[in-house]
Symmetry: C2
Subunit: 377 residues, 2 copies
């Protein structure tokens, strides 16, 4: 490596911010493409191009100024990234992986085709099709939008014919698919890293807690049996193995009441369920992603603490950002706070997160949730 290399990131939000913070010690500069100036990543030293993530010309400008290209969000112009990759610029994850992930129905079909265990699903073209699927799935299913959904937007639990109509009203004009409701005892997640040489490292299996379809809490390690853990690791490893390109992948899973593990969704990037790694693992998911996409060897993914719990700091109001109680939160032992520099605050907007470590998951959880309660934002 001669002198300083630059990593271009599509998106400048909190994931890009934490990638930028992790890139600096390894000697990389960062430039982000984001629709708004003064993004969370730009605040920590990333250069920025202000443009829409679907703007092909802006993506080319980003590529011209970067030695490596990556993403922090999958809702972007994947065709433009494919064209950039075709000219020889290293783009990771691979544009075809991003394109696949963008369409949740295609993602499910792809996983099914590769015999990766997932919940039963069906394409839904119209109201009649939705009703048929609902009957087929035992009158309990999800209707989900195929494109652009994240943080709870684009999911509806369907338990009646009226729910179907409501979903069609809410998601009017959007392509949908149906997924059987599978009763689960836990939601699990795992970060899997693969670098350019094909080296793979798997992080600990964690448990995720969702409210209003938003991830609110992550418990590491997941309190599951050794057999369940092995099954989850094997499945995640296999699923990631089918997706071309380097980088860190966030893999969400269901642990069914019967003890089976199913893949729910895959994010081809650093992920909220991996934030705990900054305090709890030898190598954070952010440093790992930087290593993975720049041709460096991967770091140790094991825990340095017995347990860690991450809770998101979701916005509590719609207002200019004012935070109170940081002092009370930080008075608690082994509590780390990460603020993202976003303004304004919006209800349920991800404004930051807290990670607490501890001797047990229960202790870490008490610390994290107490700390969260001290903060007002």
């Amino acid at each position: 490596m001669a002198g300083t290399q630059t990593i271009g990131i599509v998106g400048g939000g909190q994931l890009a911010r934490m990638l930028t913070l992790a890139a600096a010690p390894l000697g990389f500069r960062v430039i982000v493409l984001d629709p708004k100036p003064g993004s969370p990543a730009a605040q920590v030293g990333a250069a920025e191009i202000t443009a829409d993530l679907y703007d092909a010309a802006a993506l080319r400008r980003l590529a011209e100024r970067a030695d490596y290209l990556t993403i922090e969000i999958e809702h972007l112009n994947a065709q433009a990234l494919a064209a950039i990759a075709a000219l020889g610029k290293p783009v990771n994850p691979a544009p075809q992986t991003i394109e696949l992930i963008q369409d949740k129905l295609r993602q499910k079909e792809f996983l099914a085709r590769n015999t990766i265990a997932i919940a039963p699903f069906a394409d839904v073209k119209d109201l009649a099709g939705a009703k048929k699927a609902w009957q087929h799935f035992g009158r309990k299913m999800f209707l989900k939008t195929r494109h652009g959904a994240y943080d709870g937007r684009g999911n509806m639990l369907i338990q009646s014919e009226q729910d179907i109509q409501q979903a069609f009203d809410r998601f009017a004009g959007q392509a949908l698919y149906a997924e059987q409701f599978v009763p689960f005892k836990k939601e699990l997640a795992v970060m899997v890293a693969r670098n350019i040489s094909g080296e793979v490292r798997v992080y600990p299996i964690v448990e995720t807690i969702h409210k209003r379809n938003i991830c609110v809490e992550v418990r590491a390690p997941a309190e599951i049996t050794a057999a369940e853990r092995k099954r989850a690791e094997k499945l995640a490893f296999e699923a990631a193995g089918h997706l071309p390109g380097a980088g860190v992948f966030g893999i969400e899973m269901f642990l069914t009441n019967g003890g089976k593990v199913l893949i729910n969704e895959i994010a081809p990037r650093v992920h909220n369920s991996g934030h705990y790694t900054t305090e709890a693992c030898h190598t954070s998911q952010f440093e790992q992603h930087i290593r993975a996409i720049t041709g460096l060897p991967l770091g140790d993914t094991s825990l340095v603490v017995p347990a860690a719990v991450m809770v998101n700091i979701l916005g509590e109001r719609d207002a200019p950002t004012e935070i109170a109680g940081l002092d009370d939160a930080l008075a608690l032992p082994q509590v780390s706070v990460h603020l993202y520099g976003k303004s304004p605050t919006k209800i349920d907007r991800k404004m930051g997160h807290i990670t607490a470590t501890g001797a047990t998951v229960a202790q870490a959880k008490r610390r994290a949730t107490s700390a969260r309660r001290k903060i007002s934002i």
Copy 2:
């Protein structure tokens, strides 16, 4: 805390860079004052004022743009900082502490007056005085410059009359003092943090290894007896207690052949001997300093790993910076690399550091030194 507060740092080098990286997650912006634009801190998002550190008007401009003022180097205009503090701006460490530390002879006198154990020392006004001191100290002593010395500059071991003449030639025009050579079995160091409320936390005692008077290696924890550790902790705690102002203090000590502990020097700031805390402790010295000077509670200073060894990456040539071998270094387990973004490389310039963790100090040391050998800079 309403909205975003700003921390002003005098100096924009690697310590300011790592403070800036630690300030971001807590929601603080940073602005640095540095003689050169594009400083290591500015590269990671700090705003910057380009001016000499003795420029009183520039220090006032820094203070106007900051809610809290701190330093990363003690060679600056302490009188100007005192005037700023007198107007009510929080300046930490206290300007009188900085002023005291700037003059190593005054520092020694201050410690002696407060009955803190140190090596015997003497003021040296001229060649005759130096010769007298040398006789008095058993014909083995150091001659040191009182002001502006760091990283090996300003120290000479005196074992003959010729050495005295050489020192007077080398340090011509500079105020000097003499210090008895005390045979020691180890050099120790410890970071002590005190916040604005007076809360104090002590980090583990570490062993430091110097070459050419530059710190090259830090071993955590120091391999000393429990009694020696207690003595060192107590001494460091007492010494820091005499210095007004909040912040992190780096305290260097000698463990004599007789098992006594003496204070060598105190730095009123984050310190090279505390870099290991980023990987090895719950709270890094950088986050701790940010907490300490902004009125936040202090974090847990205990180790999260059994052992860690830090080695500095010192420049190997005088040339534009080119680094090679980062990939081979990072292939080693539990190795973290921190580059400072400096160019050009100069011989013995601090270009970065490596921290390796491990089950034992010996294992961490093998990893850190192997990693260092892989890197060329």
